[in-house]
């Protein structure tokens, strides 16, 4: 199983530009998917990306899946009375005509149970499930542990 996943990673690693491309399903557009390198496979990985709903009906991101993590999930960083916690979240709203993001300090994809350490320069597939638009698979670029944003020519600072 691990070899198969590694082979997938190698295939994706050969096409690093993909994460910067926009992927669409229905009215949903996703781009700038990135992650940070991890120390070993015991630590959870993270996923950030940008979602645009070009339609006139609200949608929501309700799930994430990837072959490289046993328990991928959506989390939201919440700071209340100065204390940071990271509750699970069942869905992230993507209102009609708006952009929503998994971004540092807010909603993020949390990859528990990594099957391997994420290394800078790797890429992996991530399938997002939207309540209305359905499923869409993006390529996530693994950036350095200190990365702050996607490394795409048109990425927002």
């Amino acid at each position: 199983m691990k070899r198969l996943i590694l082979a997938t990673l190698v295939v994706f690693a050969a096409m690093p530009a993909l994460a910067c491309e926009t992927v669409r399903v229905g009215d949903i557009e996703v781009e700038h998917a990135w992650s940070r390198a991890t120390i070993g496979a015991d630590r959870p990985g993270v996923v950030y990306l940008s979602i645009r709903n070009t339609g006139s009906t609200d949608d929501a991101l309700i799930g994430v899946a990837t072959p490289i993590a046993g328990m991928p999930m959506l989390h939201e960083t919440v700071v209340s009375d100065g204390i940071a916690s990271m509750p699970h979240t069942m869905s992230m709203p993507v209102p009609a005509g708006q952009t929503a993001a998994l971004a540092p300090g807010g909603f993020h994809g949390m990859l528990m149970g990594l099957t391997l350490a994420l290394k800078k320069g790797d890429s992996f597939p991530l399938t997002l499930t939207f309540e209305t638009a359905g499923d869409l698979t993006v390529t996530v670029d693994v950036l350095g542990m200190g990365a702050k944003e996607a490394e795409c020519p048109d990425a927002q600072p």
């Binding site: 940071a84 990271m86 300090g105 949390m110």
Partner: protein, 167 residues
């Protein structure tokens, strides 16, 4: 009485003993004489901690050589998993002026009490995660607490707070 109702005690009154990411013993008195910036975190933390470390790295870059006079420290709230070696590897990705501190749980509890900070372990998906105070604590060179930079606070507000302890 809860932690947020109280301010951190002066550094000179702090009494915990930890180990830095180079394996050297650390005592709070080592901070005295220079302004100090401290926050609590842990390396299993995928979002808040890298975000704060990136914010701090950006502030230090903005301040330039002036910031060399600052003590900057990350105190781990997860000593079971954050050894000095792990902290060293983790921190190598951020501004080299940031020092990692870890040690015995009892000493970290003392540190949190001195800062009036809070951390707690929560079971999660077969493992655990930590809730913890997310702000960055600032102290003047003489060791008195001056202010907190809140999580992800805009740099337009953060930088002047740091300049204040540098002057």
């Amino acid at each position: 009485m809860t932690g947020r109702d109280l301010l951190p005690i002066p550094i000179r009154d702090m009494s915990f003993s930890l180990t830095d990411h180079n394996g050297q013993p650390f005592a709070p008195s080592q901070w005295l004489g220079r302004p100090t910036m401290v926050f609590f975190g842990f390396t299993f933390c995928p979002d808040v901690c890298p975000t704060t470390l990136n914010d701090i790295s950006d502030w230090l870059a903005d301040l330039g050589p002036e910031a060399d006079r600052l003590n900057v420290a990350l105190i781990s709230v997860d000593p079971a998993r954050d050894t000095p070696a792990i902290l060293a590897e983790y921190l190598s990705n951020f501004d080299p002026r940031i020092v990692g501190l870890t040690g015995r749980l009892s000493e970290l509890e003392k540190a949190a009490a001195d800062f009036r900070a809070i951390f707690e372990k929560l079971p999660r998906d077969g493992g655990y995660t930590m809730n913890h105070t997310a702000g960055v604590f600032l102290f003047a060179a003489e060791g008195q607490f001056t202010s907190i930079i809140d999580f992800h606070e805009d740099r337009r507000f953060a930088i002047p707070k740091i300049r204040h302890i540098l002057t």
